[in-house]
């Protein structure tokens, strides 16, 4: 018997692709539907997330006259700050918990927070190296940006849930996008620019998406978990903690203070720090959280960071007498504890200095472009098939290019007032959409909004510099102004750039063009 037919059969089997075209087409259909349904939300969350990498820098930019602390804060200054914060919290009817955040090489600010969950009042101050509260934190744009990213300025629980759900949709899009991409390796470096718009957008979408996949997966998973944590813990509480969500959260967070109502002395933190340093000599103080301060049931969480870990630090728990009662294991504990430790630093890119932040900004921007190009592919496909959705093309263009403008105008307004920023942002967003539906073409919408964004960014940098140049002591202020000017220049170049792409897209004979352009 000849072996030829068997060899032929084996060769044919080998040629069969791993993912059948029917499966890929089904995945593409799901990917497309999900992407379109959540596109606007994903885009806003990704864009604001990219900017949120620099939230601490925006805080410094908005208050560049706040004191910088470049030396380690002494135990005496910490005690001073705790007493000063407690006193101020009593005046503000916000005494309960006090949080001291210490300066580091990347953020040389000593920040003091206090809040009371019953009165719902809080306060935030910048302190000097001696622990004196120098000025209240005033950072309306940073606060606006942070809340837009985490809860879309909706009521807290609802906002967190919607952002969490957006994270799930993004995660789902990553999974379906991956499964709808049978030539993931073969095309990993192919970027065809010009000619067919659809092919160009598809190449951009796939290249940015594939190489950034580990980052995109981590930020969407961690973001979804952070957003959905209240819901998940709520169900867990019903199952195992008699419906008490606080109890369920406490199982993760560590010991909680006992509410006694009886006064107690504020404990000295120096011995607590020394206690940790005996065990971890190279640990650096990150923050101290006094829970139910100045009561007999108070607890103190001392967070200290050991070099080599991504977590902000490990939390060491002390009772009101200064006795250590445990630790969080966030740096070297169990798997769950370590995941808990890296969740926020990995989501925001806050685990190291400016290098990590720049890399996060590049990859965050890539994810934003992936979202934009996803819808652009769908629109181009419709145009190719002779069914252009012109109004949707203009609306999408208005939303995509209107968001940087809305944020830039909000930042400009925040230089003068902390009020009505949400209204200003919403008004500009609506105006962008109105411009989009009123103008004749999507490319004109884009040019108008890019030009306006360039002008506004230059304006915000100029106004900020003029307002602060005489009193600013924080170099971050000038770096951000310079960054805004660079962004303005990029938008200006985009405005006057001429496009080479054409409307309808048809592929050439090159085999690489069998890639998914859908």
């Amino acid at each position: 018997m000849s072996l030829k037919p068997i060899a032929h059969d084996v060769a044919r089997k080998r040629k069969r692709p791993l993912l059948s075209s029917k499966f890929v087409q089904a995945m593409l259909a799901g990917h497309s539907a999900l992407g379109l349904a959540f596109a606007a939300l994903i885009y806003i969350v990704c864009l604001t997330g990219t900017l949120s990498v620099f939230l601490p820098e925006f805080h410094r930019w908005e208050q560049p006259n706040a004191p910088l602390v470049t030396e380690p804060v002494s135990a005496k200054a910490i005690t001073e700050a705790a007493w000063a914060a407690h006193g101020q919290a009593l005046i503000d009817d916000a005494s309960q918990d006090i949080f001291l955040s210490f300066p580091s090489a990347y953020n040389p600010r000593f920040v003091v927070n206090y809040f009371n969950s019953a009165t719902r009042k809080d306060g935030e101050w910048v302190a000097d190296g001696d622990g004196r509260l120098v000025m209240r934190v005033v950072a309306p744009f940073a606060d606006f940006l942070g809340e837009l990213h985490t809860q879309l300025h909706l009521p807290r629980t609802l906002g967190f849930f919607i952002v969490g759900l957006t994270g799930v949709a993004l995660l789902s899009s990553l999974i379906s996008g991956l499964l709808a991409h049978p030539r993931i390796f073969k095309d990993a470096f192919a970027l065809r620019w010009g000619g067919s718009n659809r092919l160009q957008q598809a190449d951009l979408h796939n290249r940015l998406g594939v190489w950034g996949l580990p980052f995109h997966f981590v930020v969407s998973l961690s973001g979804a978990l952070l957003g959905l944590s209240t819901l998940i813990v709520g169900v867990l509480a019903m199952a195992a903690y008699n419906g008490d969500s606080d109890k369920a959260f406490a199982a993760i967070r560590g010991p909680q203070p006992i509410v006694t109502g009886q006064p107690g002395p504020i404990p000295e933190v120096g011995p607590m720090i020394a206690d940790v340093l005996r065990e971890k000599p190279d640990a650096r103080l990150v923050s101290i959280h006094f829970q139910r301060i100045a009561t007999s049931g108070q607890l103190v969480y001392v967070k200290m960071r050991t070099p080599g870990h991504l977590a902000f630090g490990n939390t060491y728990y002390f009772d009101g007498n200064g006795k250590r009662i445990g630790q969080g294991g966030l740096e070297d504990g169990g798997v769950g504890q370590q995941i808990l430790g890296v969740l926020q630093p990995l989501h925001f890119g806050w685990f190291d200095g400016i290098a990590a932040k720049i890399l996060y900004a590049v990859l965050g921007l890539a994810l934003t472009i992936v979202t934009q190009s996803g819808v652009a592919i769908w629109l181009a496909r419709r145009r190719d098939k002779g069914r252009p959705a012109e109004r949707w093309e203009r609306i999408w263009s208005g939303l995509v290019w209107g968001q940087p403008l809305a944020l830039a105008i909000t930042a400009t307004a925040a230089l003068f007032t902390g009020r009505a920023l949400v209204l200003i942002y919403l008004a500009v967003t609506i105006a962008d959409i109105v411009i989009a539906v009123s103008v004749s073409s999507a490319s004109l919408v884009k040019k108008i909004l890019q030009g306006l964004t360039a002008a506004t960014l230059a304006c915000v940098a100029g106004v900020h510099f003029y307002k602060w140049f005489a009193v600013a002591s924080d170099p971050a202020s000038y770096w951000i102004d310079a960054g805004l000017l660079v962004a303005a220049a990029i938008f200006l170049v985009l405005t006057f750039r001429t496009r080479r792409v054409t409307g309808p897209s048809y592929s050439l004979s090159r085999d690489a063009e069998t890639a998914i352009a859908g």
Binding site: L34, S176, A188, W211, F215, A224, V342, L346, Y506
Partner: protein, 186 residues
């Protein structure tokens, strides 16, 4: 600094080899393919001389992505308008019959039922797994968005609504039984 620069150069060589392998006209060029991945792995080890394990993974993957973007941008194929002629051979999304009832049912499946099932599995894991309490709660929590996302992708791709409904309802029933049964039996 020199170590990190060396790691980046080795990583770039790895990417260049992978590019040469994958963009070859016929089959991927095997020596280039193996060499490319090998160089990338070696670059991670070089990073390890300067950074701790956690930072190597984080910075290594970030640097790999950004260097790959740079490689793609540097080798971009710029085309003129004349390129846009010919016949499209790209795969298209499956064309399906749809109406608002079907779209609503799909949305309910992908968003609501897949979410209920994913939360059920996560909470069941957090309640029932024989692990430290923090570990099982956090891992159970991480499972929720991952499973929800996977469930969403599957239900939106699967044209058979009934099959997805039955599977998701069954998974929900089993997972909530595991999660709540200890409380009910107590």
């Amino acid at each position: 600094m020199l170590t990190i620069l060396s790691a980046l150069i080795v990583m770039s060589i790895g990417l260049a080899l992978l590019r040469a392998s994958w963009l070859s006209r016929r089959k991927p060029h095997l020596p280039f393919l193996i060499g490319g991945w090998l160089f990338i792995v070696v670059s991670f080890f070089i990073l390890g001389r300067e950074l701790s394990g956690e930072f190597v993974v984080a910075y290594g993957l970030l640097a790999l992505a950004v260097l790959a973007y740079a490689a793609v941008a540097l080798t971009v194929e710029v085309r003129g308008k004349r390129a846009s002629v010919g016949v499209s051979v790209a795969l298209e999304p499956e064309v399906r019959r749809t109406d608002w009832k079907r779209a609503t049912a799909k949305s309910m499946l992908a968003i609501v039922l897949a979410g209920i099932a994913a939360i059920g599995i996560g909470v069941a894991f957090a309640v029932a797994m024989p692990m430290e309490v923090q570990d099982r709660i956090v891992i159970g929590g991480v499972l929720v968005p991952a499973l929800w996302g996977g469930g969403m992708a599957w239900t939106l791709a699967d044209a058979k609504l009934l099959r997805a409904t039955i599977i998701l309802l069954s998974v929900s029933a089993v997972s909530y039984a595991v999660a709540f049964l200890p409380k009910i039996l107590m």
